[in-house]
Amino acid sequence: MKWGVVRFPGSLDDGDALWALRDALGQEAASLWHKDETLGGAECVVLPGGFSYGDYLRCGAIARFSPIMKSVARFAADGGLVLGICNGFQILCEAHLLPGALTRNRSLAFVCDFVNLRVENAATPFTRAARPGELLRLPIKHGEGRYVAPEDELRQLEERGQILLRYVDESGAATDAANPNGAMRSIAGVANERFNVFGLMPHPEHAVEAALGGVAGRKIFESIAGAAR
């Protein structure tokens, strides 16, 4: 399937997403420039990790106004698949393509580590290659990944199954100690109501090779590739 990885000024993991898709997963993937409006026929658009525009005002706040984001919004409205990783998740929230917001980690420090995630809903285009409740070990690396939303919104997310990934411990329990950033309800990744836009703080593109960070990230990309077929 055809993937497009957007490159904003300050994107950092765009090359890693392209590497993971092309070299590790054998997909067709192209880089999309933020000043262009074309998505190049991509069937899934990836907004990568990084510090777009330095993340100087609020993470993602400036990138959402890039010309390409108009096309991404249109694409999403037409049902196209959009995956936002880390900074990409932050941009999707700022652009109101996903509910909630990502705020400074509870520790007030950047955190780079491997975490355990539990797949909360495996019936989506982004998670269908996983079993419900399956644990995935993925890296996180962010300073502002604490997911917050109003209580009634959280309840709705819960009811509709929009929470796709939660931070858990090795036994699969969503404990406070296993929550690396203080995210509300241990939320690591959420989808929109139509389940065609998904944002997550962990980096699946950094877990696609056994020699570098394991292969749990493949589940996300393989789900998407399968869903589009």
Binding site: Y53, G54, Y56, L57, I62, F65
Partner: protein
């Protein structure tokens, strides 16, 4: 007393944040904007017998913690409530 503290990048010091915001505003069509500086706004309450004493304390608070004297300036207002 209630104090309002404004911490801003010192004049002449590079403010990457302000520059990024200014660039974004210009690209959104706000071409008339210039010299954007981004700082912090802090409010706090302080127990003090008089406004003058509160001001002394707030100044110390600013110098010791709220502002980085190497790169930031501060101003504050103290008002009785």
């Amino acid at each position: 007393m209630r104090a309002k503290v404004y911490v801003t990048p010192r004049k002449g010091i590079l403010d990457p944040q302000g520059r990024a915001v200014e660039g974004a505003l210009k690209s959104l069509g706000f071409g008339a904007v210039g010299n954007v500086r981004v700082g912090r706004f802090i409010t706090l309450e302080i127990d003090a017998p008089s406004r003058a004493e509160a001001e002394i304390a707030v100044r110390q608070i600013c110098e010791r913690l709220l502002a980085n004297p190497n790169i930031e300036d501060f101003t504050f207002e103290v008002a009785a409530e």
